[in-house]
């Protein structure tokens, strides 16, 4: 498979690269090194610019007003968009727009009117709440939040943790056990409004990311109308699973972009920094670090683009997405670590983005399914029924 960008893809990639270099990097020079948001005037100005470029809302399906750009090209763009200090978790500070919660594209028309369209218009914000204190890697068994039918409504009780954005959201998608006798076949997906009585953001959960926190939620007799069941009762796990697989490709692309930028910095520094009368680049120990970086980056790039190509063609891509996510997140960690080693003391200062990438990249081996879960998915595909 050849993943050389076409002329058209290269044009778009170059356009986004210039945008990062000319618009994002100069602003970052003045922001707090851990910042994840732009001041409002810059955000509005740059969002307008991405609209003029025809690249706003990249991941919104065309029938909902997004640009018609295939997944491989979007993956190439995602690799470029993350190549700055905040790029891993806030690529270009969000000025290219988001697609909202992917599950809402499968919602019924009434739900789309109430939640999807306002989200796409920028009027509402949503969150996704799956993980509970009892576990996140095995949600089918770990979900203890219960939903009990009461007339036309459902009454939810339980807790969710490591939930991003719930404190700033108008609504969210969450999962609860509606049939305790069944495992994954007993989970239902609900849309909850954050102003419903019984919904509570209990506390902030601080992590290695200074600018961004997760939240802990509590549902106490939270009454949710039957009209807010997303999909079918007891079939919510498939909705959660589909989202997890799809997200792994852009997740991998973000790791890859940061790894590429860290490698560029390491090469540049190795060629200019002198020790004992010679540039670092003349030392075999440094050369081998740079070579290992390059080999691993190319491996991750190939797997990520291969997963995107498979998903774009409509083939099953769960295993491919798992491979891309696994390799890109682990390669990202190793490349940033070696880049810090090459930079020495400067590598761990807040003067350079490497220390932030080092902290944030550590989370990538856990978020969106830990490395061990990705290996489990790949093993299941290799070994099939012999595992059961």
């Amino acid at each position: 498979m050849d993943f050389q960008p076409s002329d058209e893809q290269q044009l778009v990639v170059d356009l986004v690269r210039r945008f990062v270099e000319e618009e994002i990097l100069p602003l970052e020079a003045d922001l707090d090194p851990d910042a994840s948001e732009l001041p409002a005037e810059h955000f509005d100005r740059l969002r307008e610019k991405t609209r003029e470029m025809g690249l706003f809302g990249l991941d919104i399906p065309e029938q909902y007003g997004g640009p018609e750009i295939d997944l491989v090209t979007r993956t190439l763009i995602a690799i470029e968009m993350s190549q700055h200090r905040a790029g891993l978790y806030a690529p270009c500070y969000g000025v290219f727009g988001g697609a909202g919660l992917a599950q809402l594209y499968e919602a019924n028309e009434d739900q789309k009117e109430r939640y999807l369209y306002p989200t796409l218009r920028g009027e509402k914000r949503g969150f996704f709440a799956l993980t509970e204190p009892s576990g996140g890697s095995d949600p089918a068994r770990a979900i203890r939040t219960s939903a009990v039918k009461d007339g036309e409504d459902w009454i939810l009780n339980g807790e969710k943790t490591f939930i991003s954005g719930a404190d700033k959201a108008d609504f969210g998608i969450t999962f609860a056990r509606t049939d305790p006798t069944k495992g994954r076949g007993g989970i239902t997906c609900f849309i909850v409004d954050t102003d419903m009585p019984g919904f509570r953001v209990r506390r902030v959960v601080h992590t290695l990311r200074s600018a961004h926190y997760a939240t802990e939620l509590e549902f106490e007799n939270l009454r949710v109308p039957g009209a807010n069941v997303l999909g079918k009762v007891n079939q919510g796990f498939a909705i959660a699973n589909d989202r997890l697989s799809r997200n792994r490709i852009p997740y991998a692309a973000g790791c890859l972009g940061v790894a590429i930028r860290a490698q560029e910095m390491a090469v540049e520094y190795a060629c200019t920094r002198e020790t004992f009368g010679e540039p670092l680049a003349h030392r075999q120990a440094i050369q081998w670090m740079l070579v290992d970086n390059e080999l691993e980056i190319r491996q991750a790039r190939w797997l990520t683009l291969a997963a995107a190509a498979k998903a774009e063609s409509g083939q099953p891509f769960r295993t491919d997405a798992a491979m891309a996510k696994l390799v890109a997140s682990e390669v990202g960690s190793k490349v940033v670590d070696r880049a810090i080693q090459i930079h020495g003391g400067y590598g761990v200062t807040k003067d350079l983005p490497l220390e932030r990438w080092y902290r944030e990249m550590r989370i990538r081996r856990i978020g969106e399914g830990a490395s061990e879960i990705q290996r489990l998915i790949i093993a299941r595909d290799l070994l099939g029924r012999s595992l059961h």
Binding site: D32, A40, F43, D167, K168, R202, V204
Partner: protein
Amino acid sequence: MSIRLEKPWLPLTAEAVAALPGQLGVYEIADASAATLFIGYAGGRSPFGLRGELASERERRRGPGFLFRVEVNMQYLSRHQELLMIHCADHGELPPENETPRRLGRIHPHPS
């Protein structure tokens, strides 16, 4: 562990500020009655960290009666947001000297 900043208030004097660490973190300024006026942070671009920020606060306020307290914290940005949200939850509004952020979350912590 309390999510509120519950350290004792100290007078905002030159001696107290000089004794502060140069590390990153969050701080609160209050009037003489210990009513919070401002919640701030010493971030990655603050020269001399908390000591530098509090020295600027003292310079800006000139005059007796102001109090302060600090918390050394590497997660200074998310902790700063959290303290603003807690203040809103407890008092129904931001401290008088804080500008309204572009997007501030809402939390409902247990009362202290």
